[in-house]
């Protein structure tokens, strides 16, 4: 019995290790992050936005790409983290790192609390519940205007300097410190997320994404796993929101908006779901496109966004990123 167990386990462990091996392009990507800071000093503000959107999309990928939960309200956690960081800086302490930790903790708690809502029901129910949570938070932030500033947004957030072992750095107007800060958080979060999805826990998530019933019947606890990944994703989304609030010194109702949830879904889909780095590539493409198109037609950028979505789905998400399959025979 015992002998059979280890004999069965060894190849599994080995295949897990092979699966989790670092690819060359992953290393190249991690190397590109600091290089972008060195080589493009003039673009730090735009790059900072890209890094934040990328982090947000990576967090969505954890629940959508790995656990198969379609969420239309992921902005709930982004916004919650954003307001948490801004309020903390304004009322208690301007230190960014402590603020980030507080925001991540708060979003994780919110994720834990709302994760029970997504355990039951169909895709439609989950869609509605996630959308509902984001809408409830939007209404709350709008109505509690003595705390959050209501529709005007939370203004007058002054961030303290970034205290590191290498010295103190003030957030400057050119955004270079902000970008370095966001890059650092993005890099660390990517690394953590990578450890998670390549662990046995991450593999079991993919099992329950593909067939929940089968995963349950081989003894995986589906509910606990969903709660865990939902909480982790909420925490990372909260970190992205906190970065936005801290680097811009501002939090507004816009962070809870439906647009933001839809946008991050699009970003992730452009980059591709279920391989962790889709969010990063998607954010780069999306933000550059956004910059290009809105310079040309600022008011009607949404039309081209919509057209892009429709074409993307009609062509097929898988085929869209592989242009060489467009003219071949269909399978």
């Amino acid at each position: 019995m015992n002998h059979a167990d280890t004999a069965g386990l060894a190849p599994t462990a080995r295949s897990l290790r092979v699966y989790a091996r670092w690819r060359w392009w992953e290393l190249a990507l991690y190397a590109a992050l600091p290089l972008s800071w060195l080589l493009l000093p003039g673009q730090a503000l735009l790059l900072n936005e890209i890094a934040i959107v990328a982090l947000f999309a990576v967090s969505l990928d954890l629940i959508l790409g790995y656990a198969g939960i379609v969420s239309l309200g992921h902005a709930a956690f982004f916004g919650f983290g954003s307001y948490a960081a801004a309020l903390f800086a304004k009322n208690w302490m301007p230190d960014p790192l402590t603020g980030l930790a507080v925001a991540v903790g708060a979003s994780a708690l919110l994720g834990l609390a709302t994760s029970v809502l997504i355990l039951r029901g169909t895709d439609l129910t989950r869609l509605m519940v996630t959308l509902g949570v984001a809408s409830v938070l939007y209404e709350l932030a709008n109505k509690l205007d003595t705390i959050t500033g209501g529709a005007d947004g939370l203004q007058g957030v002054v961030m303290g300097p970034l205290v590191t072992p290498f010295g103190r750095f003030d957030f400057d107007l050119s955004g270079r410190v902000a970008y370095a800060y966001s890059l650092l958080v993005l890099g660390v979060s990517l690394f953590v997320a990578r450890r998670i999805v390549y662990s046995p826990f991450g593999v079991s998530l993919q099992a329950l994404r593909d067939n929940r019933l089968r995963a349950a019947s081989i003894g995986l606890s589906v509910r606990l796993r969903l709660v865990a990944i939902y909480t982790i994703a909420a925490a990372i989304a909260g970190a992205a929101g906190a970065l936005l609030a801290q680097t811009s010194g501002f939090a507004s109702l816009d962070v809870f908006d439906f647009h933001r949830s839809a946008e991050v879904l699009l970003v992730l889909v452009i980059g591709g779901t279920g391989y962790l780095y889709g969010g990063v590539f998607g954010a780069i493409v999306f933000k550059l496109l956004h910059d290009l198109v809105s310079a040309w037609t600022p008011q009607y950028w949404n039309f081209w966004l919509g057209l892009f979505l429709v074409v993307l789905v009609l062509v097929g998400r898988d085929r869209f990123v592989r242009p060489w399959t467009w003219f071949g025979r269909k399978k």
Partner: protein
């Protein structure tokens, strides 16, 4: 108090007519169509433009809005929607969000982003002279019209041949197809009628709900609430859910304006958590 109830019922009936097409789309083909509100907006704009620019009377605009939106729905169903049925839900969501974004900006571009007003005919303005209960004539008109539509829909679904075919296709499209029913055509007709009803609802609601390019986004969550809370297996489910939502929303906004739509959203989350299939789902259904 009674006035509130009355307004709530009128609002709910309107929501029902707007959302019933969505219930059929979801129930029949399991297709998540977030762009349903765009059809309602199309109906509203057809009415507004016809009335204000061409001087067509209000009553004549309503059937035009219905037919125009139904044709638009049929066209889009044939060309764009049909390939979507077999795709995963994520694709359907992305696709219909894309349509919404396009519709919103297109209307903004061609008509402008300001709120549109319609001038109701004289006999629909004002209130009925009844003591204690203020009954707006236009709201009464909406209730009567929507009630008639509901009865007609119920009759079509339960008594006619088309209705039984539709119900058979809802229950099991594969078996229905195997029995020789043209499921695709049934769905095309149903989709067109559903869109047309949304257009009619949009035309009727232009005065009550307000009409501007962000209409599909603003009311998307309301339509979805009606459908997901009411369930998609019957027509009475969405009707009751719509009435409940209408009354709750009107009363909530009157008694606790500070909370706004907060109550409605929280109620929806609670209901869907306790009964994921909706309040009125048939026991033992899919």
């Amino acid at each position: 108090m009674l006035t509130l109830l009355f307004d709530g019922i009128a609002y709910g009936m309107l929501l029902f007519v707007l959302a019933v097409g969505l219930a059929v789309t979801l129930g029949l083909m399991n297709f998540i169509n977030l762009a349903h509100g765009a059809f309602a907006m199309a109906g509203g704009y057809i009415t507004v433009l016809l009335m204000n620019r061409a001087g067509v009377p209000f009553l004549a605009c309503l059937p035009i809005a219905f037919v125009g939106t139904a044709l638009l729905g049929a066209l889009l169903e044939r060309t764009l929607y049909r390939p979507m049925y077999a795709k995963p839900h994520l694709d359907q969501v992305l696709f219909s969000i894309g349509l919404v974004f396009m519709a919103v900006t297109a209307v903004d571009y061609f008509v402008g982003s300001m709120q549109q007003n319609i001038q109701l005919p004289d006999w629909l303005q004002g209130r009925l002279p009844i003591e204690a209960v203020g009954i707006g004539k236009y709201r009464l008109f909406i209730i009567v019209l929507c009630a008639l539509l509901t009865v007609a829909l119920q009759w079509v679904l339960s008594r006619t041949r088309f209705g039984s075919r539709l119900r058979a296709s809802v229950d099991d499209p594969r078996v229905a197809g195997g029995l020789g029913l043209d499921v695709n055509r049934i769905f095309l007709v149903t989709f067109a009628v559903g869109s047309g009803l949304a257009g009619l609802g949009g035309a009727l609601g232009a005065e009550v709900l307000g009409l501007d390019p962000s209409f599909p986004l603003k009311f998307m969550i309301y339509f979805l609430i009606v459908v997901s809370v009411g369930g998609t297996t019957t027509i009475t489910g969405p009707l009751l859910a719509a009435l409940l939502l209408g009354i709750a929303d009107v009363a909530g906004k009157y008694y606790v304006p500070k909370l706004g739509a907060f109550i409605v959203y929280s109620l929806m989350i609670a209901i869907l958590t306790l009964r994921p299939q909706g309040l009125f789902a048939r026991a033992g259904g899919r």
